[in-house]
Amino acid sequence: MKVEEFSADALIDASLPLLGLTLTPPSRAAVKLHLETAETLWRSLRGFDLVELTEPAPVYRA
């Protein structure tokens, strides 16, 4: 799947059996909206050039 062709419906269809979940039509519409929102936010992060660092939480040490 190309990122440019992100399809929330395709992601939902692929994920539901894996997750063992079912959705009512209103829930599916809501989940789709949340996925589309998340994908929009991901687009802003995707191209950002980062040095490979990992630090999961902002724990400041004295």
Binding site: L35, W42, L45, F48, L50, V59, Y60
Partner: protein, 468 residues
């Protein structure tokens, strides 16, 4: 002294220590006020009357024996219902958790507040599992704004905001993952402190997103906020995120001048999408602090908000993964559907967001070499109406629930300490808050600046009388 229960925690403590008032009378008056106003405000989900009266009697007896009373002696407080309270199920705003066994012990912060003499009077309404900025709850109803009952309290610590702003208690505790102390502080017109990540113990509280979760106090005065915060500091080996910081009292330095601090407003992202009221509030505060013309940028704040949003979705979903399969029908649908979406997000997105967090934190620390205090809006607008699903931000129609925290999320993303302080405009019923942001571990500076603004009348937290 009939109205002493409506005064600040500091004034209550003075009255109790001096013998002008008995703790029992204060608690009795507080319980009566909760009984009268809570049906309209929806702030409390549990009232611990028997426990509170017993604690009050113990304080009065200690005074009669000539013992030294604590810095919060006799001051009623309540906690968001994700804090463990011995004998109560820890609801975390949910239908599911209230079916669990009652907590066998109080949360650490409840213990510390009571050790300082404060008196727990109950547990407070909140958005389900803290995934909320509105203060609405599908199971317990909305906690309402004491300045206008038709409007939101903000969330997810909505009951905390409503209780303190409504004069039910002078103090409350809440949690802040993405803004859940600062948003209700802004909408309800009270002071709130989100300390540095890792400062206050979270032991005995129900988590939401562990790498963002903070606990902190609400109050109607900065002195009360500082006193509660000081009372709750201290090491706890059971919270793995807590840093080994020494006790660093803030109350004693509150009256020090803020004039020598380097203060700037946050520009860029923190001005986009905000309503005029939010921008004017920042301008008034900056003006009062002599920082009107100094604006700095926190680089890539929009990306920080995006990263916080994605991490929240996935960490939150992870916590609920098993329960979603077993009890999905018992969730608030608005919360459930966000959690399910979080389960579906690619792992690579979140790893990138985590890496970005380190990058962004380094940029913020760079900024604090140039300034001591940053000012930004707490919310983009005043309190929306209860039930309102969307609002206009920057010309775009967006959902209220996930977007009231657009200005708080980038800050909690990297765990910086923040005091939210309320600003009022003549002729407006509803307040709006500003964030006073400092470098890690400098809660003292944020509180000192808030106190300077309070002293000068720029910020204040009057009791809302809409329910009276």
């Amino acid at each position: 002294m009939s109205e002493v229960h409506l005064q600040s925690a500091q004034q209550i403590q003075t009255a109790v220590v001096s013998g002008q008032a008995k703790a029992r009378d204060i608690v009795a008056a507080t319980l009566a006020r909760i009984s009268a106003l809570n049906p309209k405000l929806g702030a409390f989900t549990d009232v611990t009357a028997e426990r509170a009266l017993a604690k009050a009697d113990a304080i009065d007896a200690a005074r009669a024996r000539g013992e030294t009373l604590g810095p919060l002696a006799g001051a009623p407080f309540a906690v968001k219902n994700l804090f463990d309270v011995k004998g109560l199920p820890t609801r975390a705003g949910s239908k599911i958790n209230r079916e669990r066994a009652p907590a066998s012990a109080d949360a650490i912060l409840v213990q510390r507040m009571e050790a300082a003499g404060a008196i727990l009077v109950g547990a407070l309404n909140m958005g389900e599992y803290a995934y909320d900025f509105t203060g609405e709850n599908a199971h317990d109803g909305a906690s309402r704004n004491p300045h206008d009952l038709a409007h939101m309290s903000g969330g997810s610590s909505g009951g905390s905001g409503s209780a303190v702003a409504g004069g039910l208690t002078p103090l409350a505790l809440g949690s802040d993952t993405n803004g859940s102390i600062r948003v209700p502080s802004s909408l309800c017109g009270i002071f709130g402190l989100k300390p540095t990540y890792g400062r206050l113990s979270r032991t005995g509280s129900f988590p939401f997103v562990a790498s963002f979760d903070h606990l902190g106090p609400f109050a109607r005065s900065v002195a009360d906020l500082a006193a509660a915060y000081d009372a709750m500091q201290g090491a706890d080996p059971h919270d793995p995120a807590q840093a080994p910081r020494p006790f660093e009292p803030t109350s004693s330095g509150l009256e020090e001048s803020a004039a020598n601090l380097r203060i700037a407003s946050l520009g860029g992202y923190f001005t986009r999408g905000a309503e005029l009221a939010a921008l004017e509030a920042v301008e008034r505060v900056a003006d009062a602090l002599g920082a009107r013309r100094r604006t700095v940028e926190l680089p890539e704040a929009a990306r920080a908000r995006a990263a916080a949003y994605l991490i929240t979705m996935v960490e939150g979903a992870s916590l609920h993964a098993d329960q979603l399969r077993q009890r999905s029908g018992d969730y608030d649908p608005d919360v459930r559907d966000r959690l399910i979406a979080g389960e579906m997000l690619p792992g690579a997105w979140v790893v990138k967001a985590q890496k970005f967090r380190s990058w962004f934190r380094a940029r913020a620390l760079d900024l604090f070499r140039e300034v001591d205090v940053l000012i930004a809006p707490a919310t983009p607008c005043r309190a929306p109406k209860i039930g309102q699903r969307t609002f206009m931000l920057g010309g775009e129609e967006l959902l209220v629930r996930p977007n009231l925290g657009i200005f708080t999320q980038p800050i909690s993303f990297i765990g910086l300490p923040v005091v939210a302080a309320p600003v009022w405009t003549s002729g407006e019923r509803l307040p709006i808050g500003v964030q006073i942001i400092t470098a890690p571990w400098r809660e003292d500076l944020a509180l000192r600046v808030a106190r300077a603004l309070e002293r000068d009348g720029v910020v204040s937290a009057p009791i809302g009388r809409a329910a009276s």
